[in-house]
Symmetry: C2
Subunit: 469 residues, 2 copies
Amino acid sequence: MKANFNYIQMIDHALSYSKKHHDRFVDELIELLRIPSISTDLSYSNHVAHAADWLVEHLKSLGVNNSKAIQTNGHPIVIGNIEVDPTCPTVLVYGHYDVQPADPLEQWTSPPFEPIIKDGVLFARGACDDKGQFFMHLKALESWMQTTGAPPVNIKFIIEGEEESGSASLPNFISEYRDYLAADVVVISDSSLFAPGIPSITYGLRGMTYIELTLTGPDRDLHSGTYGGAIHNPINALAQLIAQMHDEDHRILIDGFYDRVRPLSADERKSMAALPFESEKWAQEVGVDIPVTESGYSVLEASTSRPTLDCNGIWGGYTDDGAKTVLPSKASAKISMRLVPDQDPDEIAILTRSWLESKVPASMAMEFKVLHGAQPVMINTNSPAMTAATEALNDVYHRPPYFMRIGGSIPVVADFKHLLGLDSVLMGFGLDSDAIHSPNEHFGLDRFAEGIESIIRFHAHYASIEGSK
Amino acid sequence: MKANFNYIQMIDHALSYSKKHHDRFVDELIELLRIPSISTDLSYSNHVAHAADWLVEHLKSLGVNNSKAIQTNGHPIVIGNIEVDPTCPTVLVYGHYDVQPADPLEQWTSPPFEPIIKDGVLFARGACDDKGQFFMHLKALESWMQTTGAPPVNIKFIIEGEEESGSASLPNFISEYRDYLAADVVVISDSSLFAPGIPSITYGLRGMTYIELTLTGPDRDLHSGTYGGAIHNPINALAQLIAQMHDEDHRILIDGFYDRVRPLSADERKSMAALPFESEKWAQEVGVDIPVTESGYSVLEASTSRPTLDCNGIWGGYTDDGAKTVLPSKASAKISMRLVPDQDPDEIAILTRSWLESKVPASMAMEFKVLHGAQPVMINTNSPAMTAATEALNDVYHRPPYFMRIGGSIPVVADFKHLLGLDSVLMGFGLDSDAIHSPNEHFGLDRFAEGIESIIRFHAHYASIEGSK
């Protein structure tokens, strides 16, 4: 009981500090958001490296003196740790300092890398995904350091720069640094609240298989007048292939695609149905007239707990202004499939390739590339860290969090599980309406503050629970 | 008989002149080919205007002193005429000095606007389509002017700069200048020989309806993780629409599409089957393994005398390097339909729109634009001008020309018929393998010389036939 009492006193000091310094915290975040650290576009590599260096300096300024940026085959990974006491539990904080590309630029109301605050909301690429979120962990640490001298848990950081391009370097890095990264739990803030003021903890994530497909018909672009009628057009052929991927019930027709899908349990469906979710309002927010789901599943079920197949991009032929009468040589599409437990991204890639090979017409040469893959994940909701997170969120929001499955992928959660044996606590403070991956990405500064407070409280609860075992 | 004798003497002089000055003719053509007069791209407007001015000056240098470039709402139209004698028949020469865009640039082995000659073949954008071909008419005129002082027929020129972007200004111009353009026949060199050394006269042209289609789902790009599974993807929806446009026999499924199609006559099918055409060689030349046609039609029939539907371009979502997990707001396609008599481009646009409106899913907003249209054409093959052309080609190639239908569109042929009541003689010297509209467009200089000779001989035969009526 003594320990708990102390933690509560300590929390008050740390929380007061974080409130008092809120505006400066935001100013520092804005500085980081100004760096266009787009990892998928190699012409931005210098900016990505700059963001990593900025982070190292910032961690050092907080007292993480051993922080450094480790070079990889891709972008650098920033690490650092504060060891308070070897008998304390250790929290490994994961985040990513890279961001999505900003296109289409013309749809931004303010430039993506010139952050501005409007009515308490911070607009910038990366404001929510993930700079704004992992930065809360740095500020929670600062709040402890500047008040009690140290957090009540050991804290390690691993902040990568390739999450938006598939985290190619991360798995090897985790293996190589497994001793350095040893911890009791991973904490990640890269997900969303269920709704404003309604906390949630994500226990299920979809995985992904992302492919690129190119069909080649004639070996050069042809005149559609001279040849049209006797040459199979690769755009039309590609459209035929894509059209055959779904049936009328929006089920995916790739052979074997659903074989390993773990059905939603009755309990899960019941608890999802009980969530305060309005499909109509949801549709209105994303500007569609009607949601379209796999038959037999609700919007929430279909967008979080069922696998999908979406074209992310398509191109071929003449796409500028005017009417060019070309019969193109090639047509391409980027296609991603969101996966659920127990689908395997490599197996799905093989099934997709086989299916495509069986469907591609003899008139077309097909090129098939796997751009990346990620394992789907389900996490035990009854661990000490989950309990601590539940209590922390209850303290801040005055209600227990919903336990949720989400539709996105955080491949590293699977990596931490498979390579280090660690579960992750996905305690995110975004909102689905934050427009991550879209123009005008934003993050409410109220949630930035709530996140810092939740993390401070989580540290205390987790130290208390693990200490009292 | 006296007249004929004179014509033959005169021909010899004109022909000798054209042979003697061949290399200079080519140098002049190269000068014109250096001007990148791309009409579909407004950023090239200055170059298009430059090409028109160059032509006016060149016509004046040949003795067409009244030549001028007339401004339109689009690009200028170059006119000029030589009136020899009001009792002589009048030939209206049509051509176009604009060219197709040159992309994809990286596939050219030499820059498109830096003409080079390799093994007697001239490589440049526009070498065949149509600068190299209409220029033969100027050099035929020069050959007459510099030897006999005047051609045996009156000659008028109308050379436009918008053929590759739909000839938007031409119909109004023809109406407005109908008196100026009054003639007995139109002669156009913008088509092909049947094969090297095998002349042909085109009597059938396909028309066209060219549309652009955009589907909009969500009002902004969304994250495919957060939303995938409950949002209809506009790329997938567009692929579904395109896929439904053809059945398995490659017939077009738009309701009413074939209603006005004039069936190929038994004679036409017989004469087409007799042409020395090898499907396998044809397929090899365009780099496809197998031709794909509407069931029941040969390659030649399907590519010249049956209507088509081809996607000319498609775009949507993320199309750069890497894997962006976007669920896009929009997807678009450019789609052109080649038409045959008696299909009407406006009616086909309406049928296509209605069909699309009946098929587009409720989850998508559709935008439908008609980019341009052209009437299909069939020409009487027994007119005096056709006979003169037949004789001229027989003189040059020592065999009578094939009468052919071709797959391309020359919308002005329909305009001259409907607005001026004039038939056209389509006497072209290209080859299907000249890569018009593709990288590495070229024109054999042997055909350039044969074309000039054929035109000189046509003038003489036509004057003779019309004079002896």
